[in-house]
Each structure stands twice: as C-alpha cells, then as structure tokens.
C-alpha cells in the first residue's frame, strides 16, 4: 500500500517536473477558470449594466418630456395671464348654466332699443347646450333691427321663427329664440 502511494506521488512529481506538460496544465486551468468565473460573474454584472442603461434611457426621456411640459405650462400661464379677467366676460357670453334673469334683462334691453315692449318670455327646458325662449313683444318697433340685434348679441342666439302681425295701434311680434350655454357635455 505504501509502495503504491509512493509510486503515485513519484508519478505526479515526474509529470510536473516536465515543463512542457505543466505549462499545458496551467493554460487549461486558466482557461477553465476564466470560462467558469466569466459565466458566473460577468453575466449578472452585465445584466445589471444593461438594465441600468435602459433605466437611464427611460429617465432621460421622461425628463425631456417633463421639460417640454414645463415649457408648455409656462406658455399657457403667459396666455392665461394675458386673458386674465376677460375669461369672466367669456363666461358671461357662454354661461356654464342657464340663468333666466340674465337672459330676461338682455332681451328686455334689446326689445326696448328696437322700440318694442317685452310682454312675455317663456323659457323652455334646457336641452344639452341649447335653451329655447319664446318672446312676445308689442309696439311700433323696428323688427329688422331687433332680429339683427339678437343675432349680433355677444350672448349667442339663433332665431328659430318669427310671427309678426301689423296692427293699427301696435304690432304684435312672437319670436322663438335658441340661446346657447355650455350645458352638459
């Protein structure tokens, strides 16, 4: 047994003492080490690197979008500041909801300017963005001027129909008007 053991040790010593053979062993050992540690070490580090690059790209793209958004907001703010209180005037011309008293005042003023008396106003139900109003007027006024005034009013009106009767003392006018609001979207 002891002889066998010494024989194996002597064989190893003889083999390693041969330089050409030992160089080959070291090269094979080196290549094996590189392959094994390369695969188990380089792969996860590379994977993290690739995912970091992707993350960086996403962050950069998002930041550019945010910068553009800020530019848009700056521009919007400048415009909103310029519009300022004029937005309230727009609200008045195209109200969010129907307020009968505002329309009543408008129609009454326009009728008076045209030489008519506003005898009656009937507001129909609001349908979407439209309100239909029936106006009853009397007097010796200027119908063409009144209709033109209604249509040129900043508060948007569309004349639906007109019934006009000429009488000796005072004429009778019945006008159907469609007015617009923002209403339900």
């Amino acid at each position: 047994m002891k002889e066998k053991k010494e024989e194996i040790i002597n064989f190893i010593k003889r083999t390693l003492s041969n330089e050409a053979l030992s160089v080959r062993i070291y090269i094979v050992w080196g290549i094996l080490t590189l392959l094994v540690f390369g695969i188990f070490g380089l792969y996860p580090v590379s994977k993290i690197f690739v995912s970091n690059v992707k993350l960086l790209d996403d962050l950069y793209t998002n930041n550019l979008k945010l910068e553009k958004k800020i530019e848009d907001l700056k521009s919007a703010k400048e415009k909103v500041d310029i519009v300022g209180e004029d937005a309230d005037i727009l609200d008045n011309f195209l109200p969010d909801e129907f307020l009968a008293q505002n329309y009543l005042v408008d129609f009454s003023l326009l009728a008076g300017e045209a030489g008519y008396a506003l005898d009656g106003v009937k507001f129909e139900e609001v349908e979407g963005s439209e309100v239909v109003v029936s106006l009853n007027l009397s007097g010796k006024g200027d119908l063409k001027y009144f209709v033109k005034s209604l249509e040129e009013s900043r508060r948007l009106n569309e004349i639906i129909d007109i019934k006009y009767s000429v009488r000796d003392r005072e004429d009778s006018v019945n006008i159907g008007v469609k007015s617009f609001i923002v209403g339900e979207k």
Partner: protein, 134 residues
Amino acid sequence: MLIFNFVISYVIQFQKDWQEELVQEIDSYAGVEEKAKRISDKTFLYKKFSNDRKLLSEKLNYVLDNIGPDVILEDVQMDHLGFALSLSGKSALDFTNLIVRYLEGNMLSEIVIVSANFDKSENDFNVRIDGVFK
C-alpha cells in the same frame, strides 16, 4: 464592468434628482393647465356655436324689403325654411311686381299665391303668399 456600473449608477442618481426638481417646478403651475383648458374649451365651443347657428336676419330683410310701398303688410310668419305673408293692396299688378321682385332676388326656390280675395267694400285685394327659401 464594475466601473461602468458605478458610473451609470451615478448618472442615474443625477437624472433622479433632476426629475424631482422638474416635478416640483410642475407642481408650481398647479391649476394653470386646468384654467387654460377651460378657456380653450369654452372658446372652441363659442366659435362652434357661432359658426353653426343659422341666421335669419338676412332672410327677414329680404322678405320685408321687397314688399315696397304699394302693398300693405298685415302678417308675416317665417322660419329658416320659408315664409307666409298676408298682404293687402289696391292693384293686382302690385302683387305681380312683388312676386317678380322676390324671384329676381334669387333667394327663393318657390313662391305660391295661396289665396287672393277682392274686398269690394274696401276696394282692395287681400293676398296670402307662401315662399320657400333655397
């Protein structure tokens, strides 16, 4: 590779800090976008309603201006499709001239004399005319 990872982690941190600054700046504009959108939507709606609505004043002017002094208007009913007139006058020729004037205006596709009565006691014609706009 480790050095690359270190460098890229540093750049990622820089991007994150930059993003936080941008988000804070966006927060400072809170409400601006909503207000701008509201004004823009309302302006768009106003223009839409203004452009879509049909105007009747031109048609009314056409109907009334063509009547002239020879016939007397008693009653008008009109909408965007057409009109109905009740008139009186001393001569049948005046009504013929009126119809010719209406047709010459090129705004009507049809004009019809619905009825024509002669009132002997008053010595005048009572005529009802219907017109259809093009």
